[in-house]
C-alpha cells in the first residue's frame, strides 16, 4: 500500500480506537492488530502528531506502581474522522468510475 495513503489512514484508525474509551499505547496496538500491523515506533509519531494537532489529549494514570499514559480523543479528533470519511466517499466515487471504465 502506498505510504502516504497508509499514513493518513493510520492516524484516523488510531483516533477511531479512542472513540469509545480512552486507551494507552499497548492497548491501541492490540485493538488495531486485526486491521493492520502497527509497531511501537510507528505509533509514537502518530500519537505525537495527533496530540500537537489537538486531535487528542493525554494524561497519566498510576498502574502497578508505574505510570501509564492514556489518550483521549477531542472534538477536533472526531472532526478529523468525519472529514476522512467524507474524503473517502469522494475517493470511492473515483474508484467506482475507474472500475466502471475498466469493465466497458
Amino acid at each position: 500500500m502506498d505510504i502516504q495513503l497508509k499514513r493518513g489512514s493510520l492516524d484516523v484508525c488510531v483516533l477511531a480506537s479512542l472513540l469509545n474509551e480512552d486507551s494507552y499505547g499497548y492497548k491501541i496496538i492490540q485493538s488495531l492488530s486485526p486491521v493492520m500491523d502497527i509497531s511501537e515506533s510507528t505509533l509514537y509519531p502518530i500519537l505525537r502528531r495527533l496530540e500537537s494537532n489537538g486531535c487528542l489529549t493525554s494524561y497519566s494514570v498510576e498502574h502497578n506502581g508505574r505510570l501509564r499514559k492514556f489518550y483521549s480523543i477531542t472534538d477536533d479528533g472526531r472532526e478529523k474522522i468525519r472529514e476522512y470519511l467524507l474524503d473517502f466517499k469522494e475517493l470511492m466515487k473515483i474508484y467506482e468510475y475507474i472500475a466502471e471504465e475498466i469493465k466497458k
Binding site: G8, Y26, Y44, P45, N64, L67, D87, L91
Partner: protein, 304 residues
C-alpha cells in the same frame, strides 16, 4: 539485553542525534515493554521484537545514513546569473515551495529532486523562470490528486527560494497541487494561481496581490498591502488578516471568507461576491463594504 540496558542504549542513540524529546520517547518505550511483559511476553522477546535502538530512532526520525537523507541540490555559484532579478515566474505542480527572505542581493534556489521530478531554472533578462519538469507527465499529477483526496496533504518534493531582502520583486506563481509558504517577503506584486495548493502568506509587504484558487485555501497574516487585493476561488477559503490595505475584492462560490483589517490608515473598499457559506469581517478605520451573496451569513465587527 535487559530492559534498563536497552533503554540506556536507546537514550545514547537519541542523544547522539540531538533529539529533544528524549524523556518522552524513553517513557513511551518503557511503558510498552512493561505492558507487553505484563501480558505474558518475556523481556528478551519484547526487546528482540522492538529491534535495535538505531532502528527505532531511524524509524522515528528518518535514517541517519547521509545518502538516505533528503538532499537539497544547491545551485552552483550563480550570483552573476541571479542578481538583478525583477520578476520570478514560478510554475510548479507538486513541489511545496517556501519563499524565504535572505540578506544577500541574489536569488537562490534549493530543491530536492529525483528521477521523476526536478526544477528547471532559466533566465530571460530580469525574469527568472522556475519550472517543474516531470519526466513522467500526468502520472505524478494523478497520483497526487488521488492521495490528496485520501490523506489530505501530499507534497512529495520541497524547494526553498531565497529572495533578496532589499530588492522588490514581482512574483507570478502558477501551481497545481503543491503548497506555498511565503514569509517575510517584500514584493511588488504577487499573483498566484493554484488548483489545490494551500497558501500561507505571513508578514509580507507588497503592492498588489491577486489569488485565484480552485480548492486551495489562502491563509494570510500580518499583510501590508499598498494597493489592492483580489481573490477568486471555487472552494478555497480566504482567511485574511491585513495590517493595511487599499481595497479587497473577493469572488467565491463556496469558500469561507474571514477578513480582519487592523488599523488601516486609508479607506478600504471591501467587496465580496459570494454564492454560499459564511463571511466574517472585522476591522478598524473607515471601510466601505460591498457584499453580494446568495445564501451566506454575514457577520461584521468594527471597533470604531
Amino acid at each position: 539485553m535487559k530492559r534498563n540496558e536497552y533503554l540506556e542504549t536507546l537514550r545514547r542513540e537519541l542523544e547522539s542525534r540531538n533529539i529533544e524529546e528524549i524523556e518522552d520517547i524513553l517513557s513511551y518505550f518503557e511503558e510498552m515493554i512493561s505492558d507487553r511483559v505484563e501480558n505474558g511476553e518475556s523481556e528478551e522477546e519484547v526487546i528482540v521484537s522492538l529491534g535495535s535502538a538505531k532502528k527505532i530512532v531511524d524509524s522515528l526520525f528518518g535514517s541517519s545514513d547521509k545518502e538516505k537523507q533528503i538532499k537539497y541540490k544547491e545551485t552552483e555559484v550563480l550570483d552573476d546569473i541571479y542578481t538583478g532579478v525583477r520578476k520570478i515566474d514560478l510554475q510548479v505542480n507538486t513541489y511545496h515551495i517556501e519563499f524565504i527572505a535572505d540578506d544577500t542581493d541574489a536569488v537562490r534556489v534549493e530543491f530536492d529532486e529525483d528521477e521523476y521530478t526536478s526544477l528547471k531554472i532559466t533566465r530571460n533578462n530580469d525574469v527568472l523562470k522556475i519550472e517543474q519538469e516531470d519526466s513522467v507527465k500526468g502520472f505524478d499529477q494523478l497520483f497526487t490528486s488521488l492521495s490528496k483526496l485520501f490523506v489530505g496533504k501530499v507534497s512529495s518534493h520541497r524547494a526553498k527560494i531565497f529572495l533578496p531582502e532589499n530588492e522588490i520583486l514581482d512574483m507570478h506563481i502558477s501551481d497545481v497541487n503543491g503548497d506555498l509558504d511565503i514569509h517575510n517577503i517584500v514584493a511588488g506584486e504577487i499573483f498566484i494561481e493554484t488548483i489545490n495548493g494551500d497558501m500561507e502568506i505571513e508578514r509580507c509587504r507588497c503592492g498588489k496581490m491577486k489569488i485565484k484558487s480552485v480548492n486551495g485555501d489562502a491563509d494570510m497574516k500580518d499583510i501590508v498591502l499598498e494597493g489592492s487585493f483580489r481573490g477568486e476561488s471555487v472552494n478555497g477559503d480566504f482567511d485574511i488578516d491585513m495590517l493595511k490595505c487599499e481595497d479587497i475584492d473577493i469572488h467565491t462560490v463556496n469558500g469561507d471568507v474571514d477578513i480582519l483589517v487592523d488599523g488601516s490608515r486609508r479607506d478600504a473598499d471591501i467587496r465580496i461576491h459570494k454564492i454560499m457559506k459564511d463571511t466574517n469581517i472585522s476591522g478598524e478605520g473607515r471601510i466601505r463594504l460591498h457584499i453580494d451573496t446568495v445564501s451566506g451569513d454575514i457577520d461584521w465587527d468594527f471597533s470604531r
